[in-house]
């Protein structure tokens, strides 16, 4: 499965949750598949989805799901020790690990080679680190939500992107409606 197929499958699970979505094609795909006020789309700033999500989870009690990518985590690897040492049990980091920089033309990342993000996360001290296959994403994610414990899920899947339109919504609108949904 490629990322967009996974997102289509888990859209009903994501719909009721606060979601912080990674820059580029992941946000475009989620926006096209199931736009919700509870989705925060990153339009820039590669690497910070996991950090934004952690700040959000630490600041309020609702469950926060971050849809991140292997390339983004590699860009901001320092996020994993911060996540491990500031436990928010309403925080789920889901890394769609397709071993490539999808938004820039599917150039390979090191996670498709020797580097294991699940191994890195564990070494950083993260608990409840699960590496799963693409077809199991929904089940693993739902269990993580139900457990009410911080999770890091690494979803191993195929490289590839769906053709989706660029998000033209103004960033202040995205942010404002998201903040209203957080408060609701």
């Amino acid at each position: 499965m490629i990322r967009s197929e996974i997102l289509k499958e888990i859209a009903p699970i994501l719909r009721d949750q606060l979601v912080v979505c990674n820059i580029g094609i992941p946000s475009q795909e989620l926006h096209a598949i199931d736009d919700q006020p509870t989705n925060f789309y990153m339009l820039g700033t590669m690497g910070l989805a996991s950090s934004i999500g952690l700040g959000l989870a630490l600041a309020q009690p609702k469950t926060v799901i971050v849809i991140d990518g292997d390339g983004s985590i590699l860009t901001n690897m320092g996020t994993l020790p911060t996540i491990a040492n500031n436990v928010a049990d309403n925080y789920i980091l889901m890394i769609i690990d397709n071993g490539s920089y999808g938004s820039t033309g599917d150039q390979p990342t090191y996670t498709g080679k020797k580097t294991s993000l699940a191994g890195v996360a564990k070494a950083c001290g993260c608990e409840n680190v699960i590496e799963c296959k693409d077809i199991d994403t929904g089940e693993v994610l739902q269990k993580a939500i139900d457990s009410k414990q911080m999770h890091v899920i690494v979803v191993k899947c195929d490289s590839g992107n769906a053709k989706m339109p660029v998000i033209t919504m103004d960033p202040v609108v995205i942010r404002h409606r998201f903040m209203e949904a957080v408060k609701a």
Partner: protein
């Protein structure tokens, strides 16, 4: 005057309850003081752009944030300031140790100091420079201004403000 206590008092008086830090020798006192304040959640970050991401999330979650960092890291935060904090219009007080200014003993620090105000000006970030201890009197107003305007605002605090490095 204990400026570490004063800065923390002003943060709390302005309802700032989420602080991220990357340390600097000059900031050690204020960071230690923050850890004595139960009103403030302190989440140390490994890099300043990561810290700004944490602050953005905390703010959207209803907590007023602040970042405490060194000016040498300004370069790694430019993209984050432009495409996250400014693009989405988020408030962010940046309490920055201004290394490489008067009374600085380490020559290399000057290399980023000469670019610090130019970079902040290029980013159109309102910038204040604390050189004397009495300058801290402005801090409360600067925090109010930051959350009124929904912008990142820089407070540069040099070695003279912090009391220097002793005899050199």
């Amino acid at each position: 005057m204990d400026i570490d206590k004063r800065i923390c008092d002003d943060l709390i008086a302005n309802d700032i309850s989420f602080v991220t830090t990357v340390p600097c020798k000059q900031l050690a006192g204020v960071i230690a003081e923050i850890d004595t304040r139960p009103e403030v959640m302190h989440v140390p970050s490994n890099k300043e752009d990561e810290g700004m991401g944490l602050c953005a999330g905390a703010w959207m979650g209803g907590k007023r944030p602040a970042i405490i960092m060194q000016n040498t890291a300004l370069g790694v935060t430019i993209n984050t300031l432009a495409t996250l904090i400014q693009f989405y219009r988020m408030p962010l007080p940046m309490i920055i140790s201004y290394r490489g200014e008067l009374r600085e003993p380490v020559a290399c620090q000057v290399e980023m100091a000469v670019h610090t105000k130019a970079l902040l000006a290029q980013m159109h970030i309102p910038t204040y420079h604390f050189h004397w201890q009495k300058d801290v009197e402005e801090f409360d107003n600067i925090l109010k201004y930051t959350f009124m305007s929904n912008k990142p605002v820089a407070i540069l605090t040099d070695a003279n403000f912090w009391g220097g490095y002793g005899d050199q």
